[in-house]
Amino acid sequence: MTGEELYGVWAPPEAAWSAWAKPVLFAEGPTAAGPPAAGPPAADGPPGRDLAPATDRVPPADGETALVLDLAADLAVELGARLARDRGYRPVPLFNGCVGPGQPMVDSGAAARLLVRLAPVVSEANAALAPGAPPAFLLDHFRMARGQQPRPGQFDNRWLAFPPDFPSGPLLLARGVKVVVVVTAEPEPPAEDLVHVLLRWRRSGLRLLGLALSRPEPAPLDPATPWTFRRVWYRALATLGLRRSSVGGFGALLPTESLGGGHGYTGYRGGFG
């Protein structure tokens, strides 16, 4: 399977939300992160955790609820595939950092391998999913590498999510979505980059809920407004210090010397096709 074909499984052209799916992990090629682990291609098989309780806690895909899975990247992919198969949500991968060589700051490899491994599950689910099935946006909770600072020689693939990475509030409402549930592992306030998205949605009239996998019920989400909210220069300022990849998304090797700039990652293992 080529990267293009894999992308077509996770973001089929007929699906209503595919325009928002990020191609970065797919463009690197399905083998960029190494071969997928052996085992049955099922969302609940190894190396999957027991995601049944988490899946059951997510509201049913009644068309009025959209999800944002802000979890460890591999968990987000697993849960996304399972929600596609068992609950009728359309997983929309928004991972925007390259896998990269060596020791990357953000481990995208596990998620990249799971995108390959779980492709048959999602492909099968696609047959049953309506084109307008409600979305489950997949984010890597550790996209900013837990606040670590980059070191010389490291592959800096930290990234942020921005409002243009998601459908607008009016569009979600127009497609019947009324509630957005942010799913996290533990109860905690959403990351600041996500707050910019959530506040726009709330202003449009969407209801926000937070669902921690460690808790039984979702709770109302009321993020505080950051002072940079709706400032035109916010995106330019927020990405200062992050490294762009020359093939799209984020990721570049940092120079080993103390002087000189990093260079954008150009992919390895041949890319897609």
Partner: protein
């Protein structure tokens, strides 16, 4: 050519070539996995269109010394393209990014807005070349006035209806088209406002303010229209013809009519 003109020529050539080469490479290097189109092709062609517009103005309306001397034509064409290459980076600070929104997100609304903005800024610079003047510094001065007016007007529109969000988050093609046309329209008026024979810096600034009076009106009109046509749950994206083509044509027609009525500088 004098020494300072040679220096400006060389610096402009470096900035223009490096600036546009990195701009184009940044856009074309992004992989297109599963996502063709999005207006990237037309946006990549926009700098060539801008160069054609600039050279056309230089060949017909610039000072006689420029029109008749290839080295001066080259100087002002490169100065203009270098000017534009620098300003193309400013759009990101205004909330619309060629790389992020067009190349990566494949958002045609952003391509339309940015394409229009590039042409509008070209007209600002081209206008500064119209008429007789003592040298390149008066072109830079006049172009600075027009460019300042351009970005102030953009800021007003942003304040009135948040055009950057409508274009990048709502991905409203009609808004992108209308705003792109609006940028061209105000570029036309601002370019005209700094056109003419040079007398003094103060006189040029006075003329610019006197002639550019329709720009705030156009900004207010675009702002009000943007608010009225803002995406809603009932209409998440506006009708391309009614909210894009028609008002965009109206902005262009109004600006062209004003420039024609204003007559020669």
């Amino acid at each position: 050519m004098s020494e300072d003109e040679v220096l400006v020529l060389v610096l402009s050539a470096v900035v223009a070539v490096v600036g546009w080469a990195t701009w184009a490479m940044g856009l074309s290097g992004v992989r297109r996995t599963g996502r063709p189109g999005g207006g990237l092709g037309p946006l990549m062609a926009a700098p060539a269109l801008c160069l054609a517009v600039l050279v056309g103005v230089l060949l017909t309306l610039a000072a006689s010394e420029v029109r008749e001397a290839p080295e001066y034509l080259t100087l002002y064409a490169l100065l203009g393209m270098g000017w534009l290459a620098v300003l193309a980076r400013v759009f990101t600070l205004l909330g619309v990014s060629a790389r992020d929104d067009v190349a990566e997100r494949r958002n045609p609304a952003a391509a339309l807005a940015l394409g229009g903005a590039l042409v509008g800024l070209t007209l600002c610079f081209a206008g500064a070349n119209i008429g007789e003047g003592p040298g390149w510094w008066v072109v830079v001065y006049s172009a600075s006035l027009a460019t300042l007016g351009f970005f102030l007007a953009w800021a007003l529109v942003e304040w009135l209806y948040g055009v950057s969000d409508v274009v990048t988050v709502d991905r409203d093609g009609a808004a992108g088209l209308r705003f792109g046309a609006w940028c061209v329209a105000i570029g036309l008026v601002l370019g005209r406002s700094v056109a003419g024979d040079w007398s003094s810096a103060m006189e040029t600034a006075r003329d610019a303010v006197r002639v550019a009076w329709p720009v705030p009106l156009l900004a207010a009109a675009e702002g009000v229209l943007g608010r009225v046509l803002a995406p809603t749950a009932a209409r998440p994206r506006a009708d391309l013809v009614l909210a894009g083509v028609l008002p965009g044509t109206a902005w262009l027609a109004a600006a062209a009519a004003y420039v024609l009525l204003a007559g020669r500088w």
